[in-house]
């Protein structure tokens, strides 16, 4: 801890209570980005403050209706956009991710690589998952894992299987002979058919992610041993499905993953 750090410590209580001037707030926020100790202390102060403000009030009537009205018509199924701008080094995204989480990330386009830059990213963590998913796909392709499963009997098992022909069929492959098939029909109904997926471990689960038109979105969570995982894709976006990935996460799952996929596959 430095003198620079100490300059901010006394402000942390006031900052956590929104009791600092705008210029001080800005300075503290810049400091918090690079100081996990101070960030943790602010979180602790806010947690304490939350105990001071419970006033036993009922939720206001009518406000939920106004909120719900803002949510409809149906929310967009995707949350980020990307713009292709050039060629890619297949390993660059992993290096970029390790060195600068906020840097532009690499992503494989259909058939050829393309460097992509998030135009209006929602968060660094979503960008990280995009990078991870893209990098995993690149790496898996580079070592020939995509051939895995092509000759296997991939007939899904279980009761909730697609009854119409699949518009999209993707083989997901990973280490330790892990594999799965993702199928999406023209109505957007999708199923991940997994093969002998091992138990995720105590307190862990698997999370399925889809990349559609450059955007990564969580499609659901499931346990090891699950044969068929249903999910849904916006019917208007089925033709834009690019890839799927599965990560292992702590229950109940995450909004955006920081983990490498245990398996992934591209269209």
């Amino acid at each position: 801890m430095s003198a620079f750090h100490d300059d901010f410590s006394d402000l942390l209580g006031a900052y956590a209570l929104d009791a600092v001037d705008p210029d001080e707030r800005e300075r503290v926020e810049i400091h918090l980005r690079s100081c996990p100790w101070c960030a943790a202390e602010v979180s602790e102060h806010r947690e304490v403050a939350s105990f001071l403000s419970h006033s036993g009030t009922d939720a206001p009537e009518g406000v939920w209706d106004r909120i719900a009205a803002e949510l409809s018509p149906p929310a967009p199924p995707l949350r980020m956009t990307f713009s292709p701008v050039g060629e890619v080094d297949p390993l660059a995204s992993l290096r970029d991710q390790a060195e600068a989480p906020d840097a532009p990330v690499a992503e494989p386009a259909a058939g050829k690589g393309a460097l992509v830059v998030p135009l209006r990213p929602r968060s660094a963590r979503l960008r990280t998952l995009t990078a991870v998913l893209a990098a995993a796909a690149c790496l898996l392709a580079a070592v020939g894992f995509f051939a895995y499963g092509q000759g296997r009997d991939d007939r899904p098992t279980g009761s909730a299987l697609p009854t119409t022909s699949a518009e999209v069929q993707v083989s997901l492959t990973g280490a330790k002979d892990m594999g799965a098939q993702a199928l999406v029909d023209s109505t957007g109904k999708g199923y991940l058919v997994a093969h002998d997926l091992p138990d995720a471990g105590s307190g862990d689960l698997y999370q399925l992610w889809g990349q559609v038109d450059g955007v990564v979105l969580s499609l659901g969570t499931f346990d090891g041993g699950t044969d068929v995982v249903p999910f849904h894709v916006d019917p208007g976006q089925v033709s834009q499905v690019q890839s799927f990935a599965v990560t292992k996460e702590k229950a109940p799952g995450v909004v955006a993953s920081k983990n490498l996929p245990v398996m992934a596959g591209t269209v």
């Binding site: 006394d10 956590a16 979180s43 947690e47 403050a49 419970h54 009922d58 206001p60 979105l217 659901g220």
Partner: protein
């Protein structure tokens, strides 16, 4: 994996919200909107403005669910921090400054107003009340004026006729003392449903 939303943890609700599950947002609203509204109304005194804050806070959760980090605290404290920040911004806007000053004059004259009265709806309310009572007077007043009065520490220093550095330190040490008292009383932090 199909846990009913009513039994889903707050962190699980936010994951579902990130998948555009409106029922999950409704459940989060059912759990926490009362506390958010209570804080906004306490700060702004105008129910209509407080309702706008509630609407804004939950729409922000819908639009930016990844801003909530369960590793950094509970969903309730996150929503209340959002509510407090937005309410204070409104409170400090030029248009409301005069109204606020008038309101503060009335509050000063109100008998029995104190920080302890703000806490009463939790099973841990007794512990919280005792922890607040155990605070040195200077720390309690500094936190009350900053958090529930919406004042900056500089304004608090003026109101209490104390040096700014003293008030700044008292807010921080008071929050640490509160946390210590609550932990000693068995109150756990960072929990959600």
């Amino acid at each position: 994996m199909n846990t009913p939303l009513g039994e889903t943890s707050d962190a699980g609700l936010v994951v579902a919200i990130s998948r555009y599950n409106q029922d999950a947002l409704a459940e989060a609203y059912r759990r926490h909107a009362g506390a958010v509204f209570g804080l906004a109304r306490r700060l702004l005194a105008e129910p209509a403005l407080a309702e706008e804050i509630v609407q804004e806070v939950f729409l922000r959760l819908w639009n930016d669910p990844d801003k909530f980090d369960p590793g950094r605290g509970s969903l309730r404290s996150y929503l209340l921090a959002q509510c407090h920040g937005r309410s204070v911004d409104l409170l400090r806007s030029e248009s409301s400054r005069r109204r606020r000053e008038e309101k503060n004059l009335r509050r000063t004259a109100e008998a029995g107003y104190d920080l302890e009265r703000e806490v009463w709806d939790l099973t841990v309310a007794d512990h919280v009340r005792e922890a607040i009572e155990a605070l040195p007077e200077g720390e309690r007043e500094a936190i009350r004026l900053a958090y529930l009065g919406g004042h900056t520490y500089r304004e608090v220093a003026t109101l209490l006729d104390e040096p700014e550095g003293t008030v700044k330190s008292r807010i921080r040490s008071g929050l640490k003392h509160l946390r210590g008292e609550l932990v000693a009383a068995g109150v756990s932090f960072g929990d959600d449903l």
